[in-house]
């Protein structure tokens, strides 16, 4: 089976600043793949290149076999994307948000209603279908966006820090929902996060990105096992991060990031 995502030697520069520096990796079909790193590590830039929002400076990325630079429309039709910012329309109802995106993706009229109903059921928002999004909590809004990203039945689902800003209860609810949706569909998931526990629980494989470089890539267990002189069961992903980057993730999160740079408009 071909890889769902195949990134080769990809680079993105903004003037003199290199946000992504010669990164290569592949994501197998059906995998949940995590991009782990602090703010400003280059995760969002990487994901934006894969979803055609940013053109790569050099290198290639194939998504579902389509080149992100030369076959952007084919890529867009085959992927679902949840950007980092909450982008649902607050004034529209949950159902209307999904309906507009179903139309944007050209979902046939006869299957739209059923698809939207099934998705709202999957994200447990059926009883909120007619309510304006502005009346929902942050966690519920995120679930609306996840349903919206799946409304055209994509094969690859990109989620850029889907739990950032959510309280621990909402985060756990989003993880469980993602796992359930994944188990019900033939879906490859690429998720970026800076929450170690999230990556540990959700992902089949994890790539650690720091300062635009890929510093490690393996299963959570293999990454833990790579720490010399420790049993994998006693190692946390935080310790894995320290081992590969030479600093604590909490410290890394405090550093000025590319988000503060004029090159990246919004995180």
């Amino acid at each position: 089976m071909p890889d769902a995502i195949d990134v080769r030697d990809i680079v993105k520069t903004f003037g003199d600043f290199t946000a992504v520096d010669h990164i290569s990796f592949a994501v197998k079909a059906g995998e949940i793949f995590g991009l782990l790193g602090p703010n400003g590590a280059g995760k969002s830039t990487l994901i934006r290149m894969m979803v055609t929002l940013l053109p790569p400076t050099s290198g290639t990325a194939l998504v579902n076999g389509f080149d992100v630079a030369r076959q952007a429309d084919e890529v867009r039709r085959s992927i679902g994307v949840i950007p980092q910012a909450m982008t649902s329309d607050l004034e529209l109802s949950v159902q209307e948000n999904l309906l507009i995106f179903a139309k944007l993706y050209g979902v046939p009229r006869d299957t739209r209603t059923r698809l939207i109903h099934d998705l709202l059921e999957a994200v447990e928002l059926l009883q909120w279908a007619d309510k304006p999004v502005k009346n929902l909590s942050g966690g519920m809004r995120r679930r609306v966006e996840i349903a919206r990203g799946l409304v055209h039945e994509p094969r690859v689902f990109f989620l850029d820090e889907p739990t950032t800003g959510l309280d621990p209860v909402s985060r756990t609810a989003v993880w469980k929902m993602l796992q359930r949706i994944k188990s019900q569909r033939d879906l490859t998931v690429l998720i970026t996060t800076h929450y170690m526990d999230e990556a540990d629980k959700l992902c089949d494989r994890i790539a650690i990105v720091d300062h635009g470089h890929l510093v490690a890539l393996d299963t959570p267990r293999a990454l833990k096992a790579s720490i010399p002189g420790r049993s994998p069961d006693s190692v946390t992903l935080d310790e894995v991060f320290v081992h590969y980057t030479g600093r604590d993730l909490r410290d890394a999160l405090q550093e000025p990031s590319a988000a503060d740079s004029p090159f990246v408009m919004r995180r």
Partner: protein
């Protein structure tokens, strides 16, 4: 094309749920119509004219009687008698009176001897409107004074007869075309430009950009939805404004149909211009900041409040490329003269060409990536 309609549907659903947006974009042009219409529309009255009669002869009394007739008839003047010319001048400088009419001591003698009799009007020219009105009123007063007492059975002097083609047009009606254009512009700015940039800053456009929608579909979607909103605003102001301004037969179906065509073209031209200006903007403060600038640059040179013939050359150049100019001219023709399309063919052509050029440029400049 179905993606364009999805954008239009989304924008209109949001618009329907923002009643304040609708109200606010209509209140300003209506207020402007009423306030400016009544503030500038009336004739100047009750100007205080100091009369200093240093002659007291019969001809001088005749001048004062004529001035008194103006004061009690048209009420343009309120006369204040002064014995001391110095005191009158002091009051003029202090703003207590608007002008001083001085009848010199030898006025009667010169009148009776046909030896260049003169009266003097000293006016406060810091207010040109008041000064001009005083000058015209006293001039007409002197003309009546000079008219012969006996009139020839057959007049030998040439006489000008002025015939007005249309019924009297009060200033509020003259302003109405500009107010309709302004309502379209307000909705284009508030319901189009500001929302567009706010959505961009909030990341909503990122959601669109990851779908297979094309640049043209996206720009067309924004333009069509913005046009629909602005047409609604323009149509409402046309009806309410016509009733306020007292336009004859305001709901004439044929005129309304023609008005709707011009409102639609104006809305499309202005929304296309707005997208051309905003297509690369990301800062939400910018559209708010340029709102006032655009308002001034587009509205005032258009001839909406003052005839373009009085503009200096550089302003006439702005007026020539200003879409407001053609919109205001077309609305004036339809509303005040009740003409057909033949009278506004050039306006229609300009608005169509302007829209096409602006929308094409906006589409070319629109970035499909972040």
């Amino acid at each position: 094309m179905h993606r364009t309609w999805a954008i239009v549907e989304r924008e209109l659903r949001r618009f329907r749920r923002s009643p304040m947006l609708i109200v606010m974009s209509m209140i300003f042009p209506l207020l402007q119509l009423v306030v400016l219409g009544y503030a500038f529309g009336g004739n100047v009255k009750h100007l205080k004219l100091a009369v200093v009669d240093q002659d007291h002869g019969v001809p001088a009394v005749r001048i004062r009687e004529l001035a008194g007739a103006v004061a009690s008839g048209a009420r343009t003047l309120d006369l204040v008698e002064y014995a001391d010319p110095g005191r009158a001048m002091t009051d003029l400088r202090n703003g207590t009176v608007n002008g001083v009419l001085t009848i010199p001591p030898d006025f009667s003698r010169r009148t009776l001897t046909d030896n260049q009799p003169r009266v003097a009007l000293i006016s406060d020219n810091t207010d040109t409107f008041v000064s001009a009105t005083l000058g015209a009123t006293v001039n007409s007063l002197v003309a009546v004074f000079n008219a012969p007492v006996t009139v020839d059975r057959v007049a030998s002097a040439a006489v000008l007869d002025v015939v007005e083609v249309y019924p009297y047009v009060p200033y509020i009606q003259y302003l109405l075309p500009g107010s309709i254009t302004m309502s379209v512009f307000m909705m284009v700015m508030i319901g189009g430009g500001i929302i567009f940039i706010d959505d961009k800053a909030r990341g909503l456009h990122e959601g669109y950009l990851v779908t297979p929608i094309t640049k043209l579909e996206l720009v067309a979607g924004f333009n069509i939805s913005g046009t629909i909103k602005a047409v609604l605003a323009g149509a409402v102001i046309t009806v309410i404004g016509s009733l306020i301004a007292g336009v004859t037969n305001p709901l004439d179906p044929l005129r309304m149909m023609r008005m709707m065509v011009v409102i639609t073209l104006t809305a499309f031209a202005l929304i296309s211009l707005m997208f051309l200006l905003m297509v690369r903007v990301t800062d939400p403060l910018l559209p708010r900041a340029i709102f006032g600038v655009l308002n001034t640059v587009l509205y005032f040179p258009s001839g909406a409040v003052y005839p373009q013939a009085g503009f200096p050359g550089w302003m006439q150049v702005i007026a020539a490329v200003d879409p407001f100019t053609y919109s205001v001219h077309a609305f004036k023709s339809l509303l005040l003269k009740n003409t057909g399309f033949e009278a506004i063919a050039f306006d229609v052509l300009f608005l169509v060409v302007f829209s096409t050029v602006a929308m094409t440029a906006a589409t070319l400049l629109f970035k499909r990536t972040l």
